[in-house]
């Protein structure tokens, strides 16, 4: 078994949560090299954005990532608003924050179940999905759709929250806090889980910065880099929350960062629900044409820094739309992380980067 061989993991392989290929060069159980092949679900999303009126691209922005559709459409809408120079009401901003944070929680639950499933603890593959379903029920109650929301609008939101939403949402946040504590008891107190997560796929601080890690992956390596703090948008400066940072850089740190982020998100949601202004125009009129000019707007996606670079050209149709996907940069560094490790460490490392092929291939 000392001779080297290539193992193709993908495009149809349980390690890929999505359609991509990981070509691993192995020497027995040791990984000596790897190559990432992507592009299987390239859908010309950027080109589609450049060939239609700017407001009609929003449903497609949902399709960038089925796990965090809200944050992708939100980022697009906010980028357009920045280009148009619009100021939206406080009430709409608070509502957006609530929606985005719920989306972050749902996304992190999906990540948790994928990660646990890759480690082989199938109970934790199923149970976070149950909690995620409660979040999605709530979002469906608001938007009418379970995953592809199409709720944001240039100038605000599509409509008001339904009756009883505030109480439901507050109750749900407390429920989720309890559940996260339960997950920690199930996973972090488990010796086998620690064996598989601790010191696995260690990403040093320098490498994290050099390889362009963003989001929880970056914060697990000891750099704060949360766009909500670095370059605040919406009403995040008014809300009090911490950005969880761990210095381990391994899969365990990434797990802990995400679990802590869920708790911070519920904290943010409760504050936003308390501070939600009673009055405010939530759907302003927006100009028909984009002005001449360019804008880069970034937000903190559940996966990291999500950005849109948009050039307007005195037209309904944007001249250029470029999407910056956090999962793309995190995918590239998984290749670096798995090299030198064991074949069995590939699934947890790849899963801990939280990939979403929809936004990587676009």
């Amino acid at each position: 078994m000392s001779e080297q061989m290539y193992i193709h993991m993908g495009p149809q392989h349980p390690v890929n949560h999505g359609l991509w290929t990981l070509k691993v060069k192995t020497e027995g159980e040791q990984v000596v090299g790897s190559e990432i092949l992507i592009g299987y679900i390239f859908r010309m999303i950027e080109k589609m954005a450049e060939s239609r009126p700017y407001d009609t691209f929003q449903p497609l922005a949902d399709r960038l990532c089925y796990v965090s559709a809200m944050s992708w459409e939100g980022t697009y809408i906010m980028a357009i608003e920045k280009l148009l120079g619009m100021e939206i009401s406080k009430r709409a901003q608070y509502m957006r924050v609530i929606m985005l944070e719920f989306q972050r929680i749902a996304s992190h639950f999906t990540w948790l179940s994928a990660y646990a499933g890759d480690l082989g603890v199938l109970t934790m593959l199923v149970i976070p999905y149950r909690e995620r379903e409660y979040v999605l029920d709530l979002l469906e109650h608001v938007t009418g759709s379970r995953m592809m929301y199409n709720y944001f609008r240039v100038g605000g939101l599509k409509h008001e929250f339904p009756n009883g939403f505030i109480d439901d949402a507050r109750m749900l946040t407390y429920y989720l806090d309890d559940r996260v504590a339960e997950y920690n008891a199930m996973l972090e107190d488990s010796k086998v889980f620690m064996l598989r997560s601790k010191n696995v796929g260690v990403l040093s601080k320098e490498n994290a910065l050099n390889l362009g890690a963003t989001g929880p992956v970056l914060r697990a390596s000891g750099t704060q880099g949360d766009i909500r703090k670095v370059e605040p948008y919406l009403v995040y400066p008014d809300l009090e929350f911490e950005v969880p940072v761990r210095t381990g850089g391994d899969c365990l740190a990434r797990f802990q960062v995400r679990m802590a982020e869920i708790r911070q998100s519920t904290h943010i949601i409760r504050q936003a629900l308390d501070n939600l202004p009673a009055e405010g125009e939530i759907n302003q009129k927006a100009p028909r044409r984009l002005p001449k000019g360019e804008v880069y707007f970034r937000t903190e996606d559940p996966r990291g820094e999500a950005g849109y670079y948009i050039i307007g050209n005195e037209d309904q149709i944007p001249y250029r739309v470029k999407i910056k996907s956090p999962a793309y940069s995190n995918l590239c560094l998984t290749s670096h992380l798995i090299t030198g490790g064991k074949v069995a460490d590939i699934p947890p490392i790849v899963a801990s980067a939280d990939l979403c092929m929809g936004e990587i291939d676009r």
């Binding site: 488990s190 086998v192 064991k342």
Partner: protein, 380 residues
């Protein structure tokens, strides 16, 4: 030894045949014994197969409940609709799946080495567990064969399994299967040692390789308590090693579906796949048989005299079955709770933890035995 429950039936059958053919046939005694033996063999085979099917159902249902699911529900007898719900438990799910697998095409991969792929699988993976069936006691007295070398034979047959896994994985010419096969071989070879060492302690105190004798010696201990009480370290080593031998979570490394798709059985389809999965559960069942006989007092219960249990027909079998299912429940519980560990960590645990622990156990057991042989049921 024999079951004793078929003697009357065989006598009646032979008598019936002599009655309808008066004076024409004369039966040898050997024919009578052969008939009884084959009936016993059939009954143990049926027992094992039925239990395997039920075990798979039990695991699915139980793991489903632990995972906040319901497990199989639809394919079942029609018990009717009452108390406001349709009562279905998915009891026939496995039967339906067996039928599905049987109806599938038997595919041998084009690039596979045909001879080892076929022979290795059926001769070394499927056959040994079935052979093991003959050595299992179905109760206190319901035993087909109780050879003096019982354990040696059982572990000899057990150790054929990794050979078959390696041959199948290697010959199917698939990278996942090769890796899975090698992992399986490494895992089973390293865990056989602690397994046998933990059994060794029992053999030392009982001076016997026979499952039946070991089980019955546990009735002579203080209050008839099983060996688990007196050698807890050995029991733990045995459980962990058995989980590794049967490739159960957290040691299901050879078929780690996250990275190796289906491990060594990636290229097995239809009937072969079904047999490989059934064999795995078969081995778990046999492992439970062995564990129950060694550490849980077999077909006997503490505080109840052995003669009472033996005097009631099939009571000992019922006790054994209940114990086996409790034993298997532990494995299912662990499966629902733990992640899978890595192959190097697995080997570390095996060589650096379990083998020293097994030796510690042996030393402790010897000291205890020398101090008080009655603790282990030795009547002096």
């Amino acid at each position: 030894m024999a079951f004793g429950i078929y003697d009357g039936f065989v006598d009646w059958l032979l008598g019936f045949v002599s009655d309808i053919l008066p004076g024409q046939v004369e039966f040898q005694d050997s024919l009578r014994l052969t008939l009884i033996d084959s009936l016993e063999m059939t009954s143990i085979l049926v027992f094992l197969i039925v239990n395997t099917i039920l075990l798979i159902w039990f695991e699915r249902k139980l793991v489903g409940r632990m995972m906040n699911r319901r497990g199989p529900v639809f394919i079942d007898f029609n018990y009717g609709h009452f108390f406001g719900r349709t009562w279905k438990f998915g009891l026939l799910q496995n039967i339906a799946e067996f039928l599905k697998f049987f109806s599938k095409e038997d595919i041998v991969p084009e690039k596979a080495d045909k001879f080892p792929f076929n022979i290795g699988f059926f001769a070394f993976v499927v056959a040994p567990p079935f052979m093991l069936g003959a050595l299992l006691p179905l109760g206190a007295t319901e035993v087909i064969a109780d050879p003096a070398v019982g354990f040696l034979l059982i572990f000899a047959l057990f150790s054929l399994y990794p050979v078959g896994v390696l041959i199948t994985g290697w010959s199917s010419n698939n990278k996942y299967s090769v890796l899975g096969g090698f992992r399986s071989a490494a895992q089973m070879i390293s865990y056989e040692i602690p397994l046998i060492l933990s059994v060794g302690a029992v053999v030392i105190v009982t001076n016997s390789f026979s499952l039946v004798q070991i089980a019955s010696q546990q009735t002579n201990t203080p209050a008839g308590l099983p060996f688990m009480i007196f050698m807890p370290i050995g029991f733990i080593v045995f459980m962990v090693s058995l989980a590794a031998e049967t490739e159960r979570v957290p040691f299901d490394i050879p078929e780690a579906e996250a990275e190796l798709v289906m491990g060594w059985r990636t290229e097995l389809t239809g009937f072969r796949y079904m047999m490989s999965m059934a064999t795995e559960y078969f081995i778990l069942l046999i492992g439970a048989f062995i564990g129950v006989s060694l550490f849980w007092g077999g077909a006997y219960l503490p505080f109840i005299p052995a003669s009472t249990i033996e005097s009631i027909p099939l009571l000992s079998t019922a006790i054994l079955v209940v114990k086996i299912w409790v034993f298997i429940f532990l494995f299912i519980w662990v499966r629902a709770a733990l992640p899978r560990i890595r192959i190097d960590q697995l080997l570390d645990i095996g060589w650096k933890r379990l083998i020293p622990l097994a030796f510690v156990n042996i030393v402790l057991v010897i000291i205890l035995f020398l101090m008080n042989p009655g603790l282990f049921g030795v009547v002096s």
